[in-house]
């Protein structure tokens, strides 16, 4: 069923090859009103938000307020392996269309509900948005600037929905793995709030283990005590990240040679400490954090990297560092990464024909490359109700589930 919380999970399953039919109300689901729009013309079939989260699905429009719509919904559920929905708790039950209404006759059915706080929580009936969920679940607390007069930050890209969505896909596939060996389906209850909660890495662990609170910092991990800056503005004004500075003598030598190559040795007094670091055969800052010389060498390595970064365009710094086996990074914008020669070489740009617009649109490609059962965009995102007649004619009145042979034969 079309939803905000479940849309990404449905797309993941569709692009793994499932026949995903997205059920929408008459006129189309409200997320079709989310822009941006193709050509900036607002229209339910031109929503790029809809496109992004609904590629590879087919669309069926059903009016669940009416008897016919409910009958057709029962037909679809009756034939499905999996139901994935993000409805407010109670809405489907009121219509007699909830998991409990089907579980008796369809014990092998997998039914995944994605809500803000889980089906049993009263908070799941309240309105939530990506922003308020990022705030409530603790993700936003982790992101922001050294300057704490600026607020914590969420990220662009509807990550609360994507975090909940990927967990819905994981849990659904877990239930499927169990059904493959047992023939038994079940209900899967996914909470977006819980999903955000377990997606803060050290934010949670620091508190659970040591009762400490991570504080946000610019361009690097939130930490209890301020840590060294790692994000640097390169010579062309774009940003790079020096990462965690290297500690081995060979890396110090590489860095010295790079400074020489660029004619930067003279302007970099930290060279002195790099040379000491080489004489010492490298450092171990985690072990020797109370040795002032080790700390000075560690800081000098970072300063030397910053010195190189500020004298080179961002891409030259990033590729130059990595070619020297130094683990540095670059802050690409999404479109820069998308057009980058590495991503292009791996086929990440996927052309999808939008014949209704007479054009081909490039989509982001596979999150992972699978050798035998490849990920793929099966079809462009559906127009409102494009496949209603097709699917209702095609899906039988009765189960057509795809249990593996050993389960069908009663083994396993």
């Amino acid at each position: 069923m079309a939803s905000t919380w479940g849309a990404y999970a449905g797309r993941l399953l569709a692009e793994l090859g499932a026949d995903v039919v997205v059920v929408e109300p008459p006129g189309g689901h409200f997320t079709r009103t989310y822009g941006p729009f193709a050509g900036d013309r607002a229209h339910p079939d031109r929503s790029l938000w809809w496109w992004f989260y609904n590629s590879s699905k087919r669309s069926v429009v059903l009016d669940l307020e009416g008897a016919d719509g409910r009958d057709h919904f029962r037909q679809l559920v009756g034939a499905a392996d999996i139901v994935l929905e993000g409805e407010l708790p109670g809405r489907l039950a009121d219509a007699g269309l909830d998991h409990a209404d089907f579980a008796g006759s369809r014990p092998e059915l997998i039914w995944t509900s994605v809500t803000s706080h889980g089906r049993a929580s009263p908070r799941s009936s309240e309105p939530w948005t990506d922003l308020t969920m990022m705030a409530a679940s603790g993700v936003a607390w982790m992101n922001g600037y050294d300057d704490h007069s600026l607020p914590p930050m969420r990220g662009r890209g509807y990550h609360a929905l994507q975090i909940a969505g990927v967990h819905a896909a994981m849990a659904t596939l877990t239930a499927l793995a169990y059904r493959d060996v047992s023939g038994v389906g079940q209900h899967v209850d996914v909470s977006a709030f819980a999903a955000g909660n377990v997606t803060t890495e050290y934010g949670t662990v620091l508190h659970l283990v040591a009762g400490q609170t991570a504080q946000r910092q610019t361009g690097r991990h939130a930490a209890v005590q301020p840590t060294m800056e790692v994000q640097v503005r390169a010579a062309d004004g774009r940003y790079v990240t020096t990462g965690f500075p290297p500690q081995e003598a060979k890396d110090f030598q590489v860095l010295l040679a790079w400074l020489d190559e660029l004619g930067l040795r003279e302007s970099c007094p930290e060279v002195f400490f790099l040379e000491i670091g080489i004489e010492r055969g490298g450092i171990n800052v985690a072990r020797d954090f109370d040795d002032p010389e080790v700390v000075a060498i560690f800081a000098a390595v970072r300063t030397a990297l910053v010195h190189v970064a500020t004298h080179l365009p961002a891409v030259e710094f990033f590729e130059g560092a990595q070619q020297r086996d130094l683990q540095c990074g670059i802050v690409y914008s999404p479109e820069e990464a998308f057009e980058n020669h590495h991503f292009v070489a791996r086929g990440f740009q996927v052309p999808v024909a939008h014949e209704e617009l007479g054009r081909v649109v490039r989509y982001p490609g596979a999150p992972f490359q699978m050798g035998a059962s490849p990920w793929g965009i099966r079809r462009r995102p559906p127009l409102v109700g494009e496949h209603t007649a097709e699917v209702l004619g095609e899906w039988p009145e009765g189960p057509c589930i795809t249990l593996p042979p050993h389960v069908r034969s009663g083994g396993g």
């Binding site: 938000w49 308020t132 940003y239 999150p367």
Partner: protein, 429 residues
Amino acid sequence: MTPTSRSNRGGRRREAGAGPTALGHLTICDLSGQLAGAGATRYLAAFGARVIRVEDPVRQGRWDIIRGVMPHVDERRGIELGGGFNNHNVEKLGVTINLRSERGKDLLRRLVEVSDVVTENFAAGVMARMGFSYEDLRSIREDIIYVSNSGFGHSGPYSTYKTFGPVVQAACGLTFGVGAPDAAPAGWGFSYMDHMGANLMVVALLAAVAHRNRTGEGQWVDMSCTEAGLGLTGPDLLDYTVNDRPLRRPGRPDSNHSDQPPMAPHGIYPTCEEDRWVAIACRDDRDWAAFAGVCGEPWVAEPGYTTVAGRLAGEADIDRYVAGWTSGRSRRAVAGALSAAGVPAAAVALPEDRIDHDADSDAWGLYPLAHHPEIGSVRVDGVPAHLSETDWHIERGAPLLGQHNREVFCELIGLGEDEFSALAREGVF
């Protein structure tokens, strides 16, 4: 409530040994680590998969940089005492194998023979150089599922580049998307792509299991964490490919505002408490009217603000007014009053708010207690999904180095006592 008084509610629907597990039929030979790999196999282990974590005895498992490092529960330090490692490796078995030796490689081959899946997140090429490419693994077990998670994947110009979470999320466009307008990127204050990489690794792995169940065929999954991350940048990327509108443009990323769907006010605002914040999202004119009713300050009566277009045009002013209003109140008071009026609003939760003082986290059993032989009992991350028939269960902490050598090598693989002792003497594990 102290950690030890907390019941292990994550497993409330399935106590240990009570009823079937979802993934108890799967054995995972797990060479992965940190969070990007370990986070994936921890999920499988919580649903009952037999996850056997293989570590290097020579370096005491230090390839996983999280092993032994902070945070710690007390003043003790050591390779077994890292709090993050314990969190990321619950419910796994731990073995050690020295893969520099031929005997060690033989032992790993015997482990692969009895495994459904091999997982790893080394830099590209490491496994092949050790003699465990997909073709090698397949020659050991024809239907093996082999899942690799690396920064840039196993092909392409950047395939040899080395990464960790912050480098991955910077290179794939995610870091760029977090920040104030026209400012330096704020980025993610944690390894977001370690989490999402691990999550997508689970999706790929279970999809491969489903494929094997239907065809008998195994496969190799080459996951590039940067590609996985670029796929999470959302509709902004299509705005570029369809409308030629790059995200690197003036006024962006402005990530606390909502370009789409257009909402105003929409942001994170200060409160009367130092560095405490509240998020507010007025989705439409009805939310605005409700907000205006709760706020009640004179400025909300500005006629231009009754439409979303008008509010967007005056967004800078509105943000200032809203901040002025919230600055005199606590985050809970603002969030409570607006939520009660039907306007999406939430306090920006500190870890203690959502972990220790939240009815939903409690009811969910979101932070179960795990027991580690040396660290002791400590709460860990739970799983944000409950399965009605085969729910997850987390009770056992991370394994000690080689803790389960005997159990795995003798009982699972079938080494005899003499062979086990001989290999131990030779330093194979």
